[in-house]
């Protein structure tokens, strides 16, 4: 495919190959040449063999073709004449020129400093001792920028050593008791829920069969204030695992479900999964037959589970402050004078179990929130604290290894890292749905672009979960941000199985999330989701891009070595 002059300039040292038949006497220009970025594909398909003595694009521009030559002909000295060796120099735009030294004492007060400016790039270093007040321009005012706290969230942690089922729900002396009748009562949450069972799985008893894991939900409750500020109580050492099946025994997932033995199907210790010492409260919900793949079925299961957790939250609210063993304080900052950036988190919004509850009344709850599908999947801004206080309740589904469950958002490493980073000002976390229909995808992407523009950010990180369909949104979201001149980094699972099917020129800084040795969605819960090291790579990538440092083009194929090398660089 013929290229533009700008592309030719970028590829001046790459081989020159004709894109189409050109006749003898043609003065070769960029529009006669094939795009070097597809050479690997062409060579792989046997369409192109580049000879060793081939000429480069820089050499052939302006040269004359000596005989008719067809598409895919690499240009060689025998084929062209008037090869201009100077062409390369003319194209060399990054040459540094130094102005001659005036040979005078630069500190002398009365003299004039002469700059020979060919190009406004780089910086001018003034000699030490120079009286800057004598300069005809003002030096940058050192306005002291002050970081301001907008809101504070205190999380008090309460350890749980033992969980049992009993007559009343209570929480005392690190023992959580759950009322036996709760399961039966939770059926009232939704008529589609046909059966609810609850069991307690201690860390040593994990080799136990389970239906597919629909969610991992922390137990947390508001004690003071609203989501994102005030005080929240959280139970440590215990986690709710929601599993589901329909009356016919069909797993509540489309494909890639993770039913099986819990010790094999969970990557313990990921931000979203249970930790290795966690006691699991497994809530197994049976929904009405054939509703597992409709929107109402999975949501009913989440409602039933939430009604059980709510009773636990109510006793957790009364836990005395001094029984808390750990206290975390999260702050939303306004960091004036630091570059504004956003974190964009793509969430699934195709309906069925591809849905999320935004901003419930209780941390990681269901009641009081709005679902992103109902909101039309348009971007919604949360503050970092709102995310960390359980502002997202996730209804995840296919591809358990790459999907972000509710606990993931509760402990999102990228939110934490970006919120606390000293060099950037995280203006907000934007949640944008991935709709089913392509028209809707471009609609919401365009709104994201407008939002980024209105927020006047300099940089953005876009993350997505899953692969395939959502990569259409991923590419669209990055393009809408990138085309506005905002530096953007993409974070996704791609590897072997999830190779990007679409792309654009703004997708030049990508962070791979894969943790599977073969590059597959391996059906192990949370395996290839964002971990702290991924978050660090993403943020450094963004800072690098914002600083204008060129990012090397990605390899054609996924390679773990690139990730290893980048992690090596950071450590």
């Amino acid at each position: 495919m013929s290229i533009t002059f700008e592309t030719a300039k970028q590829h001046q040292n790459d081989p020159a190959v004709l894109c189409c038949l050109r006749t003898k006497g043609t003065i070769i220009s960029a529009s006669d040449l094939e795009d070097p970025s597809i050479f690997p594909d062409l060579e792989e398909s046997g369409l192109l063999n580049i000879p060793e003595h081939g000429l480069t694009i820089g050499q052939v521009l302006g040269a004359t073709l000596e005989r008719d030559a067809d598409s895919m002909t690499p240009l060689t000295p025998e084929l062209v004449s008037h090869i201009s060796e100077n062409q390369m120099d003319e194209l060399e735009s990054e040459k540094i020129t130094t102005s001659p030294n005036t040979g005078e004492d630069p500190t002398h007060e009365t003299q004039v400093i002469r700059f020979n400016i060919d190009k406004l790039v780089g910086q001018i270093e003034l000699p030490p001792g120079l009286n800057v007040n004598a300069l005809p321009f003002a030096t940058t005012a050192s306005k002291k920028a002050e970081d301001k706290v907008i809101r504070t969230l205190t999380q008090r942690a309460y350890p749980v050593d033992q969980v049992c089922v009993g007559a009343e729900t209570s929480f005392q002396d690190k023992v959580l008791t759950i009322r036996e009748a709760l399961c039966e009562e939770s059926l009232k949450a939704d008529p589609l829920v046909k059966n609810v069972e609850l069991d307690i799985i201690r860390p040593e008893d994990r080799h136990i069969y389970s239906n597919t894991i629909m969610d991992v939900i922390p137990i947390a409750t508001k004690v003071e204030g609203i989501l994102g500020e005030g005080v929240t109580h959280v139970m440590n050492g215990v986690i709710v695992v929601l599993t589901g099946v329909d009356e016919k025994g069909i797993q509540v997932h489309e494909f890639g479900s993770c039913e099986g033995y819990l010790d094999e199907k969970i990557r313990f210790g990921r931000p979203g999964s249970p930790d290795s010492e966690d006691i699991m409260i497994r809530v197994n919900v049976t929904v009405q037959e054939n509703t597992g793949m409709e929107r109402r079925g999975p949501f009913a299961a989440h409602k039933a589970c939430d009604s059980i957790i709510q009773e636990i939250r109510d006793v957790l609210k009364d836990a005395p402050a001094d029984a808390s063993t750990d206290q975390k304080v999260f702050r939303d900052w306004k960091k004036s004078g630091k570059p504004r950036v956003i974190l964009v988190k793509e969430i699934m919004g195709q309906g069925a179990m591809h849905d999320n509850v935004l901003l419930p009344s209780e941390p990681a709850g269901v009641i009081g929130g709005r679902r992103n599908v109902d909101l039309g999947n348009v971007p919604v801004v949360l503050s970092p604290n709102e995310v960390r206080d359980g502002g997202i309740h996730a209804l995840t589904c296919i591809g358990p290894a790459t999907k972000e469950v509710t606990r993931h958002y509760f402990r999102e490493p990228l939110v934490n890292l970006m919120a606390e980073d000293e060099e950037i000002n995280l203006a907000g976390v934007v949640f944008i749905g991935s709709p089913q229909v392509n028209d809707e995808k471009s609609y919401v992407s365009a709104r994201l672009g407008a939002l980024a523009e209105a927020l006047d950010v300099e940089g953005a990180i876009v993350t997505t979960e899953g692969f395939g369909n959502n990569h259409i949104d991923f590419a669209g979201n990055i393009e809408q941000i990138g085309r506005r001149g905002i530096k953007v980094v993409g974070v996704s699972f791609c590897a072997y199985q999830g190779q990007l099917v679409v792309g654009n020129k703004y997708m030049d800084a990508m962070v791979e999330l894969n943790k599977d040795p073969e590059g597959f969605e391996n059906e192990i819960l949370a395996d290839s989701t964002i971990c702290p090291t991924d978050a660090e790579r993403a943020l450094i990538m963004l800072k690098t891009k914002m600083a204008g440092v060129p990012i090397e083009p990605a390899n054609r194929k996924w390679s773990q070595e690139v990730i290893d090398a980048n992690e090596q660089l950071m450590s």
């Binding site: 495919m1 189409c20 038949l21 597809i38 594909d41 062409l42 398909s45 067809d70 598409s71 895919m72």
Partner: protein, 428 residues
């Protein structure tokens, strides 16, 4: 023998005409039967006879094809009024009302008479020039006068030596020259013509007027002459009838076919269909569309081609859509007729949407097709159906065979019916 002639109320760009006759009326050949609604072109009875049907889409006249060119004359009027009232439209296929085109002012500009006839098989424009070069020449002079042009160009393929010699013999005005064109598709595309004759490459969204130029088909010009000199409205069309006809593959030119003639009757007049056939194409192999024998000739009909039966495709097709050729919808229709699934669709890099349709950035100059071909292969195409111009088809043919991907072209069945070289590699 009486026949029915169905005259469509919309044979031009713009709104359909409003009928001004009623069922049962007797109409004379040349009588106005429908009025332009706004920026259209009037419609006249192409035969004398009885109006047997008037509806929202057409007027049907039962009558006889005249033996002599007798007609009711247009009312007297100045040059532009005559052209307007004659109901002339762009007969190269575009159907833009000529009255409106020639009411523009291009003082100092150029009128280009388009005799490129770049669709393969079609031959009626060149045949008509050879039959009456002076009528075309005088039409060009009238058109130049109407728009205030300073010069005129008759653009015709260099290979038509006889037509060129005859034109040069009749040209008496030194402002008018003949410009020889290369034998490539789509050399007659408006912006390609302006590029080759005047050296100006207009952007896809620009019209010819941007280059102070008006482009007009040569048959249209002869109709201008007839309107101005004889007061003759548009009653008939010159048509190439070709393909699988009795008596072997041939391209016959039927002059002055009455507007509204049934396609089936026209084919019969040319000898009739010879055995099995694939489809009947109206107009050229690249841009034409499939019709039935009951469709009718309009003011823009250029060709009727009876094609070879379709070869059944053996694998899913990748469609490569070009701006100057069959639309994606037409290509999908062809894929269906070949019994093939469509694995993927790619549009040539040079094709961009402008003024309501795909336009080529630089008509007839290939931008390279390697990435498109690879993408189609990746989408699962086992063979390709392409609509590309000569130059781009040549590029595809230097790629696909190396990948062992068979190539079909939208023109194949028409070309095969005529025993012509298929549109593949450029012929040396």
């Amino acid at each position: 023998m009486n026949r029915d002639y169905k005259l469509l109320l919309k044979q031009h760009i713009g709104k359909p005409d409003s009928p001004c006759v009623q069922e049962g009326d007797w109409v004379e050949r040349g009588e106005r039967i429908a009025l332009a609604d706004g920026r259209g072109a009037d419609l006249h009875a192409s035969v004398s006879g009885t109006v047997i049907e008037v509806n929202s889409e057409d007027i049907v006249i039962r009558g006889k094809k005249p033996e002599h060119d007798l007609f009711r004359q247009l009312p007297p009027g100045e040059l532009r009024e005559r052209i307007r009232s004659a109901g002339i439209v762009g007969m190269g296929g575009a159907g833009f009302p000529t009255g409106i085109k020639l009411s523009q002012e291009i003082s100092g500009g150029t009128v280009i008479a388009n005799a490129a006839e770049c669709e393969p098989i079609l031959n009626h424009n060149v045949t008509q020039i050879e039959a009456n070069p002076d009528e075309v020449y005088r039409g060009l002079v009238y058109a130049m006068e109407a728009v205030g042009a300073a010069s005129g160009i008759i653009a015709i393929k260099a290979k038509h030596r006889q037509a060129i010699a005859q034109l040069e013999k009749v040209i008496r005005d030194e402002r008018i020259t003949v410009f020889p064109l290369r034998d490539l598709y789509p050399i007659g595309e408006e912006r390609a013509l302006i590029r080759d004759t005047l050296g100006i490459l207009l952007p896809p969204e620009a019209r010819a007027i941007t280059a102070n130029t008006i482009i007009i088909n040569t048959e249209t010009l002869s109709r201008v002459t007839q309107a101005v000199e004889l007061g003759r409205p548009v009653l008939s069309k010159n048509i190439t009838v070709a393909g699988r006809l009795r008596g072997g593959p041939k391209a016959q030119v039927l002059m002055d076919v009455p507007i509204g003639t049934r396609v089936g009757d026209l084919i019969e007049a040319a000898g009739g269909i010879d055995g099995d056939y694939g489809e009947i194409i109206m107009d050229g192999p690249f841009m034409g569309h499939s019709v039935t024998q009951d469709d009718v000739v309009t003011k823009t009909t250029g060709g009727i081609i009876v094609t070879m039966p379709f070869l059944q495709a053996k694998s899913p097709l990748g469609l490569l859509v070009c701006a100057c050729s069959a639309s994606e919808a037409r290509m999908r229709e062809l894929a269906k007729k070949m019994g093939a699934e469509v694995a993927g669709v790619e549009v040539c890099k040079h094709a961009v949407y402008a003024r309501g349709s795909l336009k080529c950035r630089n008509p007839g100059v290939c931008p390279g097709q390697a990435d498109r071909v690879l993408r189609l292969r990746k989408a699962g195409a086992g063979s390709l159906l392409i609509g590309n111009c000569s130059d781009c088809s040549n590029t595809v043919m230097s790629l696909a065979p190396k990948l062992h991907i068979p190539v079909h072209h939208v023109t194949d069945n028409a070309m095969r019916a005529m025993n012509l070289h298929l549109i593949r590699k450029l012929q040396k």
